[in-house]
C-alpha cells in the first residue's frame, strides 16, 4: 500500500513544492521546516475567488443597543387571537400566594424595533452563507436550502410528539429510513436518533458500553482515549462513570500502538477514537488497534466528528468499531445554528442493539417498496414504537432533534450512495490541496497526506515574531475569511486546523492561501507583528478582551437601564 501513498516527495514534485523530498517527517517535537523552505510560485488558479466576506462594511461596525436599551414603557409587539373564552380575572384564576406582584421584567419594544434589532445583529455575524468557514473539526459546509424548506412543512413541524403512533406514521417512517441510511453509511446494524448532539451520543454510547459489559457479568473501570481527542471524549467518559486513560500519538500522527498495548488490560471497557483523527490523519493501524482492544474484551467507539472524510470509502463497522456516533450538523449539512441544534445519532453492532435507548421507531408491518426514482416508498409499511429488550432507557425528552433529522434525510436522499462518496473525495481533495498549498507558508507537522482537514503550525511565527496561532486567526478575519480552529489539537504547538469542506471552490482555497501568505509576509515587515497582534481591524468589533469578561463577569444586562448589572460570582 505504501507505494501508492502521496508522500512528501510526491507533493514536492508539484509546482508549489514544499522543499527537500528527503527531509524527515516533522513531528511535534521537531519544528517543521516548511515555513523556512524555499518558496515557489503558487499554482495558477484562474477565476474569481469566492467565499470571502469582502463586504466587511456590511458587518455593522456600530455598537447595537441591547433589547433592554431599546425598551420604552408601554411599547408592545404582541397580538393574540380572539377566542371568546370568558376572561376571568387573575384573582379568580391563581391563588394570591402564587401570583406575581408585577409583570416579568422583560423588554418592551415595537415589532418594527424588534425586527431592526435582530436584523442588525445578524449583520454582525459571520456565517457559511456569507463566506468560507474553514473551521477545523466543524465541517462548516454549505447547508442546502431545500433542507430549510422541508423542515418548515406543517406535516413535520406542526406534529405533536405525544400523538398516537397512527397519527405520526410519516415521522416514524422518516426516522426508520434515516436510521437505515446511517447504518448503511457506518456499517452498523441498528441506531438511535435520540441524542441531540455529538456529546450526547458519546455519553449514550458509553452507557451502552457499560450496560453491555455488565450483561457479560464484568465490571470495567477505564476507557482509553488518544491525546489528540476532542475534549468531549474524556468529559463523556467521566460522566459515563469511567476513568480516562490517555495514550500518546506516535511520530507519524497515529495512535502509539506500543503504548496502547501497554495500557490494555481487563479493566479497559473500550477505546474512543476519531478516524481520521483530529490531526486529519487516517489511523493506518486501525485494524491492529481494533484487534488489540477486542482481545481484552473492550469495545471500540467511533467519534463521528470526522466522518465527512470517509463516507462511501470505508465504514467504521469495517474498521472494527462497535459503536459510532454521527454529527448530522457537520457531515449531513443540517446547519449549526450558531452553536446548535445538532443531532448525534448513535449506530451500533447487532450485539449492542438490545441496549439501545428506547422507545425506538420500528416498522411493524409491510416492507419498504421502491418508487420509480429509487427512493423508498413508505406506502405499504406500518410503523410503531418498541422498547429494546435491554434498553439503557431514554436519553431525550422526546425523539431527538426531529427537524434536524428530517434535514439530514433530505441531504442523504439528494446525495445517495454515489454523492456521499463524492462528498468525501472532494472534501479530502480540498484539504490536501490546501495543505500542499500552505506547506511553504506554515510548518506542517506530521508530514503525510491528510484526510478532510489539515493541521499546520504557526510556531515559526512565534519564534521569529512573537505571534501566536490566535493572532494569525484574527488576521484572517480581516482578510474576509472565518478563522481556522486554533490551538487544537493540543499536541501541536500553535496549531491552525483548516477544514475547507467539499463545498468551497479551488478559487476560494487559493484566495485563502494567499490571505495566509499576506499575513505571514506582513509579520516580517516593520511594525507587522504589532499590526497582526492587534488584528482584526475590519470586523464589527476589534479584538475582544476575553480576560476581562471572565474577571469582571457580566452575564446578564440590567433590564431597566441597559447598564450592566453588578458583577456576580
Amino acid at each position: 500500500m505504501s507505494g501508492s501513498q502521496v508522500s512528501g516527495s510526491q507533493v514536492s514534485g508539484s509546482p508549489h513544492g514544499s522543499g527537500d523530498p528527503g527531509r524527515a517527517p516533522v513531528g511535534r517535537d521537531e519544528p517543521g521546516t516548511g515555513a523556512t523552505s524555499a518558496r515557489s510560485a503558487p499554482p495558477a488558479v484562474e477565476g474569481a475567488p469566492g467565499g470571502r466576506a469582502s463586504s466587511a462594511p456590511l458587518l455593522g461596525g456600530d455598537t447595537e443597543p441591547t433589547l433592554f436599551e431599546l425598551s420604552r414603557p408601554g411599547r408592545r409587539a404582541w397580538q393574540l387571537p380572539t377566542t371568546g373564552v370568558p376572561a376571568l380575572a387573575i384573582e379568580d384564576l391563581v391563588p394570591a400566594s402564587y401570583r406575581r406582584d408585577a409583570p416579568p421584567p422583560l423588554a418592551e419594544v415595537s415589532e418594527r424595533d424588534l425586527v431592526a434589532h435582530f436584523t442588525r445583529l445578524s449583520h454582525r455575524q459571520f456565517s457559511v452563507d456569507l463566506g468560507a468557514y474553514p473551521l477545523g473539526s466543524c465541517t462548516m459546509k454549505y447547508n442546502p436550502k431545500v433542507c430549510d424548506a422541508v423542515a418548515a412543512l406543517p406535516g413535520l413541524a406542526a406534529v405533536h410528539p405525544a400523538a398516537p403512533a397512527r397519527l405520526v406514521q410519516g415521522w416514524l417512517a422518516l426516522l426508520v429510513e434515516l436510521e437505515e441510511a446511517l447504518c448503511a453509511v457506518t456499517g452498523m446494524a441498528a441506531a438511535t436518533l435520540q441524542p441531540a448532539a455529538g456529546a450526547a451520543g458519546e455519553l449514550t454510547g458509553l452507557l451502552m458500553m457499560r450496560a453491555w459489559h455488565q450483561a457479560q457479568g464484568r465490571q470495567r473501570r477505564t476507557v482509553v482515549i488518544p491525546d489528540s481527542a476532542h475534549g468531549t471524549n474524556p468529559a463523556s467518559v467521566t460522566l459515563g462513570g469511567y476513568d480516562t486513560v490517555t495514550v500518546p500519538t506516535d511520530p507519524s500522527g497515529g495512535v502509539d500502538l506500543a503504548a496502547l498495548r501497554r495500557v490494555l488490560d481487563e479493566d479497559v471497557a473500550g477505546i474512543m477514537l476519531t478516524n481520521p483523527n483530529t490531526l486529519g490523519l487516517f489511523e493506518r493501524d486501525i485494524e491492529a488497534v481494533a484487534g488489540a482492544v477486542h482481545d481484552v474484551g473492550g469495545l471500540l467507539y467511533y467519534d463521528g466528528a470526522n466522518l465527512n472524510a470517509i463516507m462511501g470509502v470505508v465504514r467504521p463497522g469495517d474498521m472494527g468499531f462497535d459503536i459510532v456516533h454521527l454529527n448530522l450538523h457537520k457531515t449531513f449539512a443540517t446547519p449549526h445554528g450558531g452553536g446548535g441544534p445538532g443531532a448525534g445519532p448513535l449506530a451500533v453492532t447487532a450485539a449492542l442493539a438490545p441496549f439501545l435507548p428506547g422507545p425506538r421507531p420500528v416498522r411493524t408491518a409491510g416492507g419498504p417498496g421502491d418508487a420509480p426514482g429509487g427512493i423508498r416508498d413508505p406506502g405499504s409499511a406500518r410503523y410503531g414504537w418498541e422498547q429494546p429488550e435491554r434498553s439503557i432507557g431514554r436519553v431525550h425528552s422526546w425523539h431527538g432533534n426531529a427537524l434536524v433529522l428530517a434535514r439530514a434525510l433530505t441531504y442523504t436522499l439528494v446525495h445517495g450512495a454515489d454523492g456521499l462518496r463524492q462528498v468525501a473525495q472532494l472534501a479530502v481533495l480540498n484539504a490536501n490541496w490546501l495543505r500542499a498549498r500552505l506547506a511553504g507558508v506554515f510548518d506542517v507537522p506530521f508530514d503525510r497526506p491528510c484526510m478532510h482537514e489539515c493541521v499546520v503550525s504557526a510556531a515559526g511565527l512565534r519564534r521569529e515574531h512573537g505571534l501566536r496561532a490566535s493572532d494569525v486567526a484574527k488576521a484572517l478575519l480581516d482578510e474576509g475569511f472565518h478563522a481556522p480552529t486554533v490551538s487544537f489539537p493540543l499536541i501541536v504547538d500553535d496549531a491552525l486546523m483548516f477544514e475547507p469542506t467539499e463545498t468551497e471552490s479551488v478559487q476560494t482555497l487559493e484566495a485563502l492561501a494567499q490571505a495566509c501568505e499576506r499575513v505571514v509576509a506582513e509579520a516580517a515587515t516593520p511594525g507587522g507583528p504589532e499590526r497582526i497582534g492587534n488584528a482584526p481591524a475590519r470586523t464589527p468589533v476589534r479584538r475582544v478582551d476575553e480576560a476581562r469578561a471572565a474577571r469582571h463577569l457580566i452575564p446578564v444586562a440590567d433590564s431597566v437601564s441597559g447598564r450592566p448589572s453588578p458583577p456576580t460570582g
Binding site: 412543512l153 413535520l156 400523538a163 470505508v314 431514554r394 433530505t410
Partner: protein, 447 residues
C-alpha cells in the same frame, strides 16, 4: 450527479495534478485496501432535490399535524402556542442559522449578543442571577441541575418529585447510572409532592420539583424550600416559562437552580425537537454552570462586546475533570426564544399566561361537569389539568382524533393506575367553540 460542490472535472484534474496524484482514489492511500469498500453504500442513488423534497412531502402527508383538522389539547412539555411570523422570519436569517459556535467573537457579535439577551431574559423570568446559553431540552437541563447539586453537596441521593415530567425523569434515570446518583421517587398526593421526612434517609443533594408540575398543579415551593433548608439540599425547580407570566418566579421562592423546557417560547411542536433546555441558577454556582455562558466585555477600542466566558469550566479545556460534556447546544432555539420574548414583552407574556389559565379553567370546569369525569388532582392549575375518565384514556385519545381533536395525553400508570387519566392543555389559541366541541366529543366517546 446532484450535489452542492463547485468542482468541475477540470478542477478535479488540475487539483490532483498539483498533488501529483492520478485519481481521487489515490487520496485514500492511507486506508488499508482490506478496509476500503468494494461496492457502493447500500443506499439508493442520489436524486435531484425536487424529488427528495417530494419524498419528504409524502412522508409529511402521512402525519396528522395539529391545526384545523386536529385541534391540539395535548401538552406535557410541548405546547401549541401562537407562533408569530416575525419570530420565524428573524430566527430564520441565515446569519444565525448557518454560523458555528462563536469561537471567534469578533465576527460573532450577532449570535453572542442575542444569546446574552436570552440569558438576561431567562434569568429575569426565573428570578435568579444567571442563565446559560441553553441545553438540549428540558430533560438535559434537569440532568445537569442534578449533576451540579451532587457536585456542590458531595451527596448521592436526589429526591425527585413524581410531578416532574416523566420523560425527563426517565432520561435522568438513564444518565444517573454513570455518575451513580441514587434517585428517590417522591410520589404525589392530591396532585402535589409530599416530601419525605428529613430524618428518615440520607440527606439529599437536591429536591427536584415541577412548577407547575406534570399534572398542571402549582406546587408549594415554600414547603420544598423548607425541606431543602432542613436537609441542606439544593432546590431545583423545573418551571414553565409561560406560566411564569403569572406565577411568582422560582427564584423568589428560593430556588437554587431553575430549569425547564423552552419550546413554548416560539418553537414549533416539531415532533419533539429541536427544543430548548433552560438552565438558570444562583450566581454562587457560576463556576459549576454547565455549557456555554456569554459575558459582556469590551474590545480593543473600549467598545462594548460579547464573548463566551468562564471557558475553563468547559469540556474542551477541563477534559476528564469537566462536570458537563455539553458542547453543541441549542443556540438557534435560544435566539428564537429571545426574539419571541422580545415580541411578547412583559405584557404579552402575562397575557398569554392569563389566557392559558382562562381556557384551562373553562375547559376543566366543562369537562368535570360531564357524567363520570372526576378530577385527578384538586390543587390549583394554570395551563394544564388532569382528569379521570370513565373509559380508557388512550382509547379516547385515539377515537377523538377521528373527530378532529388531539384530546390530550393518556397518563401512565404511575399517575392513574387503570389507564383512565387524561392530561389536557389549553393554550391561548383555543377558542370557546373548540373547547365546547372537545368536551362534547369526550362526552360522546366515554358514553
Amino acid at each position: 450527479m446532484p450535489g452542492y460542490w463547485p468542482h468541475t472535472g477540470d478542477d478535479v484534474e488540475a487539483m490532483l495534478a498539483f498533488l501529483g496524484l492520478g485519481s481521487l482514489d489515490d487520496l485514500f492511500a492511507a486506508v488499508p485496501d482490506s478496509l476500503r469498500l468494494a461496492a457502493p453504500l447500500d443506499l439508493a442513488a442520489g436524486v435531484p432535490e425536487p424529488d427528495a423534497a417530494a419524498h419528504i412531502d409524502d412522508l409529511a402527508a402521512a402525519n396528522r399535524p395539529v391545526g384545523r383538522e386536529l385541534v391540539c389539547f395535548a401538552g406535557g412539555g410541548a405546547y401549541d402556542h401562537y407562533l408569530p411570523p416575525v419570530t420565524a422570519a428573524l430566527a430564520g436569517r441565515s446569519e444565525f442559522v448557518t454560523s458555528y459556535t462563536p469561537y471567534q467573537a469578533e465576527v460573532a457579535q450577532g449570535v453572542l449578543q442575542a444569546v446574552f439577551e436570552f440569558q438576561t431574559l431567562l434569568a429575569h423570568l426565573a428570578g435568579v442571577e444567571i442563565a446559560n446559553a441553553s441545553l438540549y431540552d428540558g430533560a438535559a437541563a434537569v440532568v445537569e441541575a442534578v449533576n451540579l447539586a451532587v457536585g456542590v453537596t458531595g451527596r448521592e441521593d436526589v429526591w425527585l418529585s413524581r410531578g416532574v415530567n416523566p420523560s425527563w425523569r426517565q432520561v435522568l434515570g438513564t444518565l444517573a447510572t454513570g455518575p451513580g446518583h441514587r434517585l428517590v421517587d417522591v410520589p404525589l398526593a392530591g396532585g402535589l409532592t409530599r416530601w419525605p421526612d428529613a430524618g428518615g434517609s440520607p440527606p439529599p443533594a437536591a429536591l427536584v420539583v415541577g412548577y407547575p408540575n406534570y399534572l398542571g398543579c402549582i406546587e408549594d415551593l415554600a414547603a420544598a424550600r423548607a425541606a431543602c433548608d432542613e436537609t441542606g439540599a439544593l432546590l431545583v425547580v423545573a418551571f414553565d416559562p409561560i406560566a411564569a407570566g403569572v406565577l411568582r418566579s422560582p427564584g423568589s421562592w428560593g430556588a437554587d437552580v431553575v430549569v425547564g423546557e423552552g419550546q413554548a417560547l416560539g418553537l414549533p411542536l416539531a415532533f419533539g425537537g429541536p427544543y430548548l433546555g433552560l438552565f438558570a441558577c444562583r450566581a454562587a454556582h457560576v463556576r459549576r454552570l454547565p455549557g456555554r455562558l456569554v459575558g459582556q466585555t469590551v474590545d480593543a477600542d473600549g467598545r462594548r462586546a460579547y464573548v463566551t466566558t468562564l471557558r475553563t469550566r468547559e469540556q474542551d479545556i477541563r477534559r476528564e475533570r469537566a462536570t458537563s460534556n455539553v458542547c453543541t447546544n441549542q443556540t438557534l432555539m435560544a435566539v428564537t426564544a429571545a426574539i419571541q420574548l422580545g415580541w411578547l414583552g412583559p405584557g404579552g407574556l402575562a397575557e398569554v399566561a392569563m389566557r392559558c389559565a382562562q381556557g384551562t379553567r373553562y375547559c376543566r370546569d366543562a369537562m368535570l361537569a360531564l357524567d363520570g369525569v372526576e378530577p385527578l388532582a384538586d390543587a390549583p392549575v394554570v395551563r394544564e389539568f388532569a382528569v379521570r375518565l370513565p373509559a380508557d384514556a388512550a382509547t379516547v385519545v385515539d377515537r377523538l382524533a377521528d373527530d378532529g381533536f388531539l384530546a390530550g395525553i393518556a397518563l401512565g400508570p404511575e399517575y392513574a393506575g387503570n389507564g383512565d387519566g387524561l392530561l389536557v392543555a389549553v393554550t391561548e389559541k383555543r377558542t370557546l367553540r373548540e373547547i365546547d366541541a372537545l368536551v362534547a366529543a369526550v362526552d360522546k366517546a366515554v358514553r
